[in-house]
């Protein structure tokens, strides 16, 4: 019940975790963000999709890591001190998925008014973009966590 309530807040004027990839600001609904972790040693998973960098040990749990730069077709950059993992916890009908995304830098928590958001132009950055929001003079790209971490074809496929 609790999680249901949390996930339905996605469309409401909400709070988003803001982070940077290259020059753009992105946002993930704060409701799905479990924690932010420093970069951890990644173990490659041969045969996984190219945008999956591998798995990490997050306090004893093996958690897949998505490389957002690779997912959005951006060029790879070397890790910096600010590179970190945004760990998300997504409740689905089939169970809970915990996965992390590598981002260049976490900026701040953004409060976004739903009235300022607009759907993405067709085909923009694939289907992972939920909407675009105007925040002051910035445009924030709000991501659809389910599509980023689970994919368009829904949950499934555990190892």
């Amino acid at each position: 019940m609790e999680t249901l309530a949390r996930n339905t807040t996605v469309a409401a004027p909400g709070r988003y975790l803001g982070f940077r990839l290259g020059g753009e600001t992105y946002g993930l609904d704060i409701g799905v963000v479990q924690e932010i972790s420093g970069m951890l040693p990644v173990t490659r998973v041969p045969g996984a999709p190219t945008h999956v960098r591998g798995v990490v040990n997050l306090r004893g749990r093996v958690v897949p890591v998505v490389d957002l730069r690779s997912l959005f077709g951006m060029e790879a950059v070397p890790e910096s001190r600010r590179t970190c993992l945004v760990v998300c916890r997504i409740e689905t009908v089939a169970g809970t998925v915990v996965a992390a995304a590598v981002v260049d830098e976490v900026t701040d928590v953004l409060t976004i008014d739903v009235a300022t958001t607009a759907p993405p132009a067709d085909g923009a950055t694939g289907s992972c973009v939920a909407s675009l929001a105007q925040l002051g003079d910035r445009v924030v790209i709000l991501l659809d966590a389910v599509r980023v971490f689970i994919g368009a074809d829904g949950p499934g496929g555990t190892a």
Binding site: A48, V62, P64, F149, T158
Partner: protein, 683 residues
Amino acid sequence: MTASLDKSAAADGFRTRWRRELAPLDGMVLTAAANPAADDLDDLLCLFHDLGCEADAAGDPEVAARAREVQDVLLDEGLSAGVDRILDATDWILHRLAPARATGAPGAASDRTFDIDLRSLDPETLRDFLEEADELLPEAEARLLALEQAPNEPSSLHAAFRAFHTLKGVAGFAGLAPVQALAHAAEHHLDRARRGEIVLTGDELNPALAATDALKRLVADVVLGLRGDGWLHVPGEVPTLAACLAPPAPTGGLVMLARGKERRRDAAIPATASAPIAAPPRAVQREAVRVSADRLDLLVDTIGELVITEAMIRRHFAPQQLPVEQQRNLERLGKLGRELQRIGLDVRLVPVRPVFQKMTRLVRDLAQKSGRDVELRTSGEETELDRSVVDLLTDPLIHLLRNAVDHGIEPDPATRVASGKPARATIGLRAYHEGGSIVLEVEDDGRGLDRAAILDKAIRRGLLPPGAQPATHEIHDLIFLPGFSTATQVTEVSGRGVGLDVVRRNLEELRGGMEIASEPGRGCRFRFRLPLTLAVIDGLLLGVGAETYIVPTLAVLRIVRPEPADIVRPFDADELLRLDGELIPLLRLRERFGIGAAVAGPARPVVLVIEGDGCRIGLVADELFGQQQVVIKGFDRPAGGVPGIAGGTILADGNVALILDAPGLVRSVRAHGERARAIPAGA
């Protein structure tokens, strides 16, 4: 003051009791209307007459009037013609008798299909009901099956009776009238046995078992309803559910009949009937504590973390760097961690009993259906296994037992007697510990495997060259080949082979091994060995390039470091390793995992011969680091579900290593090999 209190208490008692009496009525009236019998009418008349009198006494003239109206309808129009009006009146009365909180769902009460708005019920009581049902129904079933061996044996009979009775109570408490009605009917059936009116065996036992099944379905529907739209849908099936209780005698509508008679006895003792209902939680006190599986997993995970952290600290300091006391403390910390890990895994162990109980029922039903006289003897129900293993065990056992009953046992008892065996066949189902693993056996005293027929079939299907003389165990292995199962002729001639590839597949998932022993004419025994737990395995650490992988030790048959000359590469095909006169396809992990030549491989790599799906392949790795116990950790999308990878684990240095899926790798090599071979074969 006292008088008015008494009066309201009496009214409450009246309402509660009649709610219980009338709740099952819908289904029973419908059954009786479809299958009229004179007794039913009398019973209904009595019921509504009593209701009318008691309603007057309890100060509810409207209910009394409605009850008399029903009597009039019954007398004037009869059951079949007046069924709609009777049901309407009953609904109205039930609604009237409903406690205050249920008034929100009048639509539900008037809906004749027994649909119940689960959200209108108290969630706490509903949860209690589900938990109780989870234990009571298997208990009832087990006791009923025990009764078949010892008909009307008092302790089993009482226990089964109590289980249904308690279920009836909690269902009534939760407001689940269909469950309550069915449990009541089952309870009543058992009560007849308690009074010695019937002997619970065979046909008399069937209705009770059928009721147990129907109750299980209802409980499952409640769970589905809670997850779904919040309604329990029982669309028009309740009459047949009730009917399933009727022994197959020519008196249709027997539930109604039996129920009405019983009611007359119950009416005299309402106080004792309602007392246990108020106290079901105490009635089923246990020494165990119920813990959710998630919390248990979390506990085991956290312990695993502790052990890893300890190992990391240890790596950081050379022991001699530390004062003696700290060295000792560190030592102790490590020991405690390992102890905790062992306890944590122990906690997840559950006995195989529930699975065995399910099998007892299955064999009974199968035997009855196929007209064979079979007894299932189980032993070692106390043997404990990891929860996850127990779940995966059910399917293979079902397949093996079905095979044993359908094909292993002679269809005609005369054949058995002629060959000096008792007419009644015995199937043994056993579980026991042996050297760190669990062994399960399914043994029948039937015909045994017909080796000649299997061999013949294999040769005709091109699985073996003509004139092949394979060893006995190789012939037995043939029945596990996928597709062999559909070979109807073998099934008819020799039996066995239905879905046995599924058995093998499941056992591989459990990382277990299987042996078959069969003696023609004397019987057949399947024996499989399973690890105690799926959470921890013994693994071999492999170095491939700069990466570390783990292969489950159980999957590895041999480890060799072959001479380069023993590796051959036939034109246009996979590399093969020549080992003791056998050619084994090789899978180079460097290539498979896309590891470039940046790290040079050794001149003589190590080869691990693994087995899966009955085939062998050799995994080529750079280095073998050793063996250790690893805790398996699955991971989700997007990295999960990759072929050849079974999961991950955390090494002592805190990094993740991937665990290889041996059967998956074998299958991929075989698929590749078959594609390669298909070309010359088609040309």
